[in-house]
Amino acid sequence: MSGIYNWMYYIASGGLILIGLYIVLVKTNLIKIVIGLNFIDTGINILLICIGYVRGRTAPIFSRPGISPANVVDPVPQALVLTAIVIGVAVLALALSIVIKVYQHNKTLNVTKIKGLKW
Amino acid sequence: MDRTSIKKWFKAPDKMGHKYSLWAVYFCTGCGIIEVPPVITSRWDAERFGVIPVATPRQANLFLITGYVSLKTLKAIIRTYELMPDPKYTVGFGSCPINGGMYWDSYNTIKHLDKYIPVDGWISGCMPRPEAIFIAVTHLWTMIDKGMATGYIKYREKYRYYRQNQEKLFGKLEWPPLYPMEDKNG
């Protein structure tokens, strides 16, 4: 039981990534695809977090008393996730704005119909 | 037959040559030509006289006008005659070239060939027999020997006359005059 418990975050993140990939692969609506990308992003963020997380340890804030380097979690992944979230937001914003433009030009959000560029 | 006389050959080789090597242009003007094939083939064998038919007037020096001469044919006759190299001899064969014969009142045949080209001799009859051709050839030999077969000289000297007659018949001819048109002897 505890094995699954230990791996739960990994499974969740993997699940999110796979759901995102499924959306990107299968869904034809652009907005949905963008959401799928976000799913992937989120999944990866969770993955990063759980890589750095050690059960039962605390945040590495050394100004608080009683904190020794031995019982803190790794702070780096959290920093990474913050960056990744920022990047994800930027991509999302850009993606949505481009989707709007695409819709203006094509009057549709169905990617199978937006095939002006091929071959 | 003085063909083998060496003396004569040395004296006048050109004359002898012209005499004994008469090459006839194979030109069929009318019905008379039917007599020519027997003449040149085995039955009468004109080649023993040195007479052979040739295909082009450039090589020929004997012109047999065989039979009636229609206007269209006359044009060709004149042209052919002018293409032949000097000295050249013309023989009218049958009565039609002489005076029109049975076509004397035809609108489309000429009556007097010698108004258009000079003729050195005539063979009368309708038809003349092939033997008559040989008689004509031997007569022509004599004439060449005596310098009487001068039709080609006459044509040069009286070219204006001939040309005028020709043009009277045909209107303006397509080809330029062969000789200068001014009359030498007036």
Partner: protein
């Protein structure tokens, strides 16, 4: 040296005499086969004299020069082909030179005829070209067979190797037969007189020739006859002294003439097909045999 110089002058004269004799003879023989009386045997001489005295026409400088080139080529060629063992210039050129010098005569005619500006001439020359393409195939095969067999390109050597009745025709019968089969084509006699064909194209290349041009062409034809026959005798009949050589030439010529006298004319494509079929097969077989044997 002096003897050689004398031969250089005498040989063309001999060739001329023999050639003209053959021309006259051919007319006489054909007449007799046709059961005619025929012209005197010296009739070609009379014709030549007449032609020299006719006032012919000329189409231009090339018209004259081509004829002269043609005849000169033939005369020079005579000096390279051993006549009864005599070939004064054979040291200056071998069989390959002879093959190429044989081009001069037709080239001269072709050039001069070309300036003649008559389609009949063009058709005649075109036929001549095609016909020569036709007969060159068996001719080259048989010549190469001879050269391969005797391992030399020199005509004199080839003739020398055939002394004492060891004639080429014995060792190389197939090429000899092939050569003989195309002999009429090379001589331009029936059934291969397509080139001049008086009835169709008004005697072809010589349609504009009259007078002295025709005279030179006749002489050229005489030389040509001599050359073709001499070549045959040299290659296959073992040469010999001048007299036997002449006799052999005469025999070959008469055989050719008999064919000439009785046959009608081929059409040009028939002639080419003929040349490329039987003579070529025979000559090729001969070449293969010579290649294997030698």
């Amino acid at each position: 040296m002096v003897i050689k110089a004398v031969w250089i002058i005498v040989l063309p004269i001999i060739a001329f005499i023999i050639g003209v004799f053959f021309l006259g003879l051919s007319r006489k023989v054909i007449a007799r086969i046709h059961r005619r009386y025929g012209p005197p045997i010296y009739q070609p001489v009379i014709d030549l004299i007449k032609l020299m005295n006719q006032k012919s026409i000329s189409h231009g400088r090339l018209f004259d020069m081509g004829v002269i080139l043609s005849l000169a080529g033939s005369i020079v060629l005579v000096l390279f082909i051993p006549f009864g063992g005599i070939a004064p210039l054979s040291g200056s050129g071998d069989f390959l030179v002879v093959l190429y010098l044989m081009l001069l005569a037709p080239l001269g005619v072709a050039l001069s005829g070309g300036e003649g500006a008559n389609p009949n001439i063009s058709i005649g020359i075109s036929r001549k070209m095609m016909l020569s393409l036709g007969y060159e195939v068996p001719l080259l095969f048989s010549i190469l067979a001879v050269m391969t067999y005797y391992k030399t390109t020199s005509l004199v050597e080839i003739t020398k190797a055939q002394q004492h009745l060891s004639w080429g025709v014995i060792y190389l019968p197939l090429p000899a037969i092939a050569y003989f089969m195309i002999l009429p084509a090379m001589l331009g006699i029936r059934p291969f007189d397509i080139v001049s064909a008086p009835q169709e194209i008004s005697s072809g290349p010589s349609v504009e020739y009259g007078g002295r041009y025709l005279a030179l062409m006749t002489v050229e034809h005489a030389f040509h006859t001599f050359i073709v026959l001499a070549l045959f005798v040299d290659l296959f009949l073992g040469g010999g002294n001048p007299f036997t050589f002449f006799v052999k030439m005469l025999v070959v010529f008469l055989l050719g003439l008999f064919i000439h006298a009785v046959f009608p004319r081929f059409r040009i494509d028939q002639a080419i097909k003929y040349c490329w079929k039987w003579p070529s097969i025979l000559a090729l077989a001969g070449l293969v045999i010579a290649y294997v044997v030698a």
